[in-house]
Every structure is written in C-alpha cells, then in structure tokens.
C-alpha cells in the first residue's frame, strides 16, 4: 500500500500561538510515512463565523474544500474546530443538493465550485485509520511505561455523531488506544467527554474556568501525571490558562498538558527539544525526569 498523502490544514490558532503542536505533529507524521503537502491560499475554516452567519461559515469552509478538490487530496486538520466545520460542511454539501447550489452560487463569485470529491480527517483518525495501530506500535522505540496519563479528546472530533460518526461519543477509545501504544498508562476519569469550555471564553470567563477546573480536579483525582489533548483550544484552556485557573480557585494543579504527537514523539525517540516541549506553559520537567 502506498503511503497516505494529505493536505495539512494548520488553521489559525496553531500558527498564531501553538507551533509546538504543528512541530511535533509534522515530526511524528514524517517518521510514520505520512506525506504532507502544504495547503495553498487556505483561509480560516469558518467555524468562528457560524454564530454570525451560517452561509458565511459554509462558504468559507467550502472554499478550503475546493482548494483540496483541485489538487485531489484529502485534508488533515490538527484542530477539532477546523475538523468540525470542514467535515460538517463537506458532508452537508454532499447530501443537500439545494444548499450546495446556494453555496456554489457564492463560490462562483470567487471562481470556485464545490464538487464533493474529497474527505476531511482529523490527525487522530489519520493515525488510527491510515497509519494503523500496528505501524505506530512498531515505531515506538522508547516505551513510556513509567508514566500515567489521562486523555481529553474534546468535542468536535466526536460530536455531533451524525456528522463525525467515527468514535463512540459516549465512550471514545481512539485517543486512549493511541496513548496505550506509547507504553504510557491511560487512566479513566469522571466525565471524560465533557467540553473544556474554551469556545465561550470570549464572552464569559466564569463558566469555562469552572468547567476546566472541574476537569483538572477529576484528572488529578485518578493520579494522572499529564493530560493529553488533540485540539489547540482544549490545550489553551488546560495549559495556557492553568495558572489563571489556579489563581481564581486558589488551588495548585501543576499538571503538564501535552499535545498527543508530543507524547508519541517521545516514545518514538525524539528529544523534548525536537518536539518543542519547552513551549508548554506548565513545564513537564518532572514528567520528563520519570521517562529518562
């Protein structure tokens, strides 16, 4: 079988403030034989614009899909939000002829037409479905058997079921399985599938901070030494905002939050520097000491 080949859709927030995710993802994917092609002239996936105008979101997303159709390559996203809008738009426009015609009317103004010929996948489904567990297992040269972690898959790679339809939204196993392949122990905890709260942080901080604090409580209660995420927004909520959450609730968590490819990268023998672990807000010094 030939190597999987994808257009990488980095989105907005990753190039803006989370290069560590992109750096580690590219390193790991290259070593696993996934060919990455840069996506020319892409724009925001459209997700944050859905609250303003649904047609705007669909058209912005569809423009990206058209770019991929032109080079006939599937899209891989690193961000749950990008996956949500691109995948959902792709599925809706493939099924709903009336809506497709409407959106194509807008796209005509920029000389494009949605045809519905490509797929959109999030990183974890590229890893689980295209690379496969066996190949990842074989690439692990330095199993992280001495650490215990917990996972937070986030919402939009699970829900809504009718558009994602891959993992079970009530009991997701893909990220857990991917973590186990690194040799690390993946712990269960309460309310694993709950939202991180980040999407509304721009309008209200009380609610998202309470949500994130509860999640950190639950993760700490089972004795996890790190939290693993696959979405830049979830990561910002738990890593970048962790000191603020600690101040608001007068608690100390000091829980490192790693992007999944950083964890996998460590197990594949990459150095912490190569995986940009120094860019995390909560320093994983103790964790790295345990896996040496």
């Amino acid at each position: 079988m030939s190597n999987p080949k994808y257009l990488l859709f980095p989105g907005c927030v990753i190039p803006y403030r989370l290069s560590s995710y992109e750096i580690s993802a590219r390193k790991v994917l290259a070593k696993l034989g996934v060919e990455i092609v840069e996506m020319p002239e892409y724009n925001c996936c459209g997700y944050p614009m859905d609250v303003i105008n649904h047609d705007l979101m669909l058209t912005l997303a569809a423009r990206n899909l058209c770019i991929a159709e032109k080079v006939d390559l599937p899209i891989m996203t690193l961000c749950n939000g990008c996956f949500c809008s691109l995948n959902e738009t792709n599925k809706i426009l493939k099924e709903d002829k009336e809506l497709r015609e409407k959106i194509n009317g807008y796209l005509k103004e920029v000389g494009m037409e949605f045809k519905g010929t490509i797929e959109v996948k999030h990183l974890i489904y590229v890893l689980s479905e295209d690379v496969g567990y066996e190949k990842i297992k074989n690439a692990v040269t330095k199993p992280l058997a001495s650490i215990r972690v917990a996972q937070h898959s986030g919402c939009h790679i699970l829900r809504p079921r009718k558009y994602v339809g891959r993992d079970d939204p009530e009991n997701p196993t893909t990220l857990k399985e991917l973590i186990r392949l690194t040799g690390a122990k993946c712990l269960d905890y309460m309310d694993e599938t709950e939202c991180c709260g980040n999407p509304i942080i721009g309008v209200n901080e009380d609610v998202p901070f309470s949500m994130a604090k509860e999640k950190l409580d639950h993760v700490r209660a089972v004795g996890a030494q790190a939290l693993i995420t696959v979405c830049p927004f979830c990561h910002i909520m738990f890593d970048l905002n962790q000191p603020r959450i600690e101040r608001v609730f007068n608690e100390k968590f000091n829980l490192p939050v790693l992007h999944y490819p950083q964890l996998l990268g460590l197990a594949m023998g990459f150095s912490p520097d190569e995986l940009a672990l120094n860019e995390l807000r909560v320093k994983p010094t103790e964790l790295l000491g345990m896996i040496k």
Binding site: C12, E38, M49, N53, E109, H156, D206
Partner: protein
C-alpha cells in the same frame, strides 16, 4: 470573574399575548439545523446534560426550545444567555427526538445578528481580522519568522481578496457594519 457571592434568582416574567409570534416556529423549522424544533416534547435531557447549564444560572436549552415553540422571538433574540452555548453538541447527540438544540441556538444567534444587530465583541474582532488577513487572528510578522526558524515551512499566504468577496456576497460584511457589539455575558 464575578465578585458577587449571592446569585440572582430567576424570576420568569409574565408573558403577554402580544409578545407571541405564532408563526415563529414555522419560520424556524425552515432553517437549516432547526428543522425539528416542533417535535421537542420538553423532556429536559438537553438541559440535564448541558455542561454550561450546570455552571450558569440562565442558560437552559430546554427553555430555549419551548420559547421558540410558543413564539417568544424578541425575548430569545435579545437574551444574552443565547451566547453562552459552547457548541459541544452533547444536546444534539442526546435528544431522544433528534432535535438539534445547538443548531437552534446557532439559528437564533444568526437572527440576533441580522434582525437585532447585536453580537459579542469577540466575534466582531475575529471577523474583522478574518476580512483583513484571511485568518481570525492577525499573526504578527515575528511569529511567521519564528516558524521558519523553528524548521516549519512558511505559512501559505491566504487569498484575502477572495475572503473579503465571500463576506460581501453572503451579506456578512454589511451585517458586521451594522452590529452593536457587547462585551460580556453574565452567567450568575
């Protein structure tokens, strides 16, 4: 964070007949995502499973569905609690009637922007950045340089002209010109 320790109690205001728009539910049923609002039988699964409802006093998805059914259009569109949904889609997956509550909330938000010209400031800023740069954040030049120093390929340049055109043809540019932005939504 709010410094207030006591929380306000929710007192449902008396509904006046002239507030009701009996045709509102039919209009909603035609919108993508809100098609099934009329089959909501008020079981409350959406509210019970909503993480936002758990931590706020005012956001109640079941109430939103009922208000749509009886036609309390203006109250729905002007209620800032509408902007607390984090679109986690738990309600969509759990509804026994297949009502897409998060879809209904999105339709109502779109209407609040179009009919009442209101929008949280954060989204106006993101939209402005997007029209200007193709991304919802204005990525500074220093960041773009750092990428390359870190061994990442240069970020592809977005086609700002085409993005702006999309804002224009979907009517979004003129919507954004009209909106009165508000900063914060109280949850307690």
């Amino acid at each position: 964070m709010s410094e207030k320790s006591e929380t306000r109690e929710y007192v449902p205001p008396i509904i006046k007949a002239e507030e009701l728009d009996p045709k509102f539910k039919y209009k909603m049923s035609k919108m993508h995502g809100a098609e099934k609002v009329m089959v909501c039988f008020q079981c409350g699964t959406c509210t019970a499973d909503c993480p936002i409802a758990r931590f706020s006093e005012f956001y109640r998805p079941r109430r939103i569905a009922r208000m749509v059914q009886i036609g309390l259009k203006d109250r729905l569109l002007l209620d800032k609690a509408l902007w607390l949904c984090s679109s986690c889609f738990t309600c969509v997956d759990h509804c026994p009637q297949g009502v897409e509550i998060a879809g209904i909330v999105r339709v109502l938000r779109n209407m609040a922007v179009a009919d009442k010209n209101i929008l949280p400031l954060v989204y106006k800023e993101l939209a402005t950045n997007l029209m200007k740069s193709g991304f919802v954040y204005e990525i500074p030049e220093s960041r773009l340089q750092k990428r390359v120093e870190q061994g990442l390929p240069p970020l592809p340049k977005p086609n700002v002209k085409e993005v702006t055109k999309i804002f224009e043809v979907t009517g979004s540019a003129s919507l954004l010109e009209k909106v009165q932005a508000f900063v914060k939504v109280e949850s307690k």
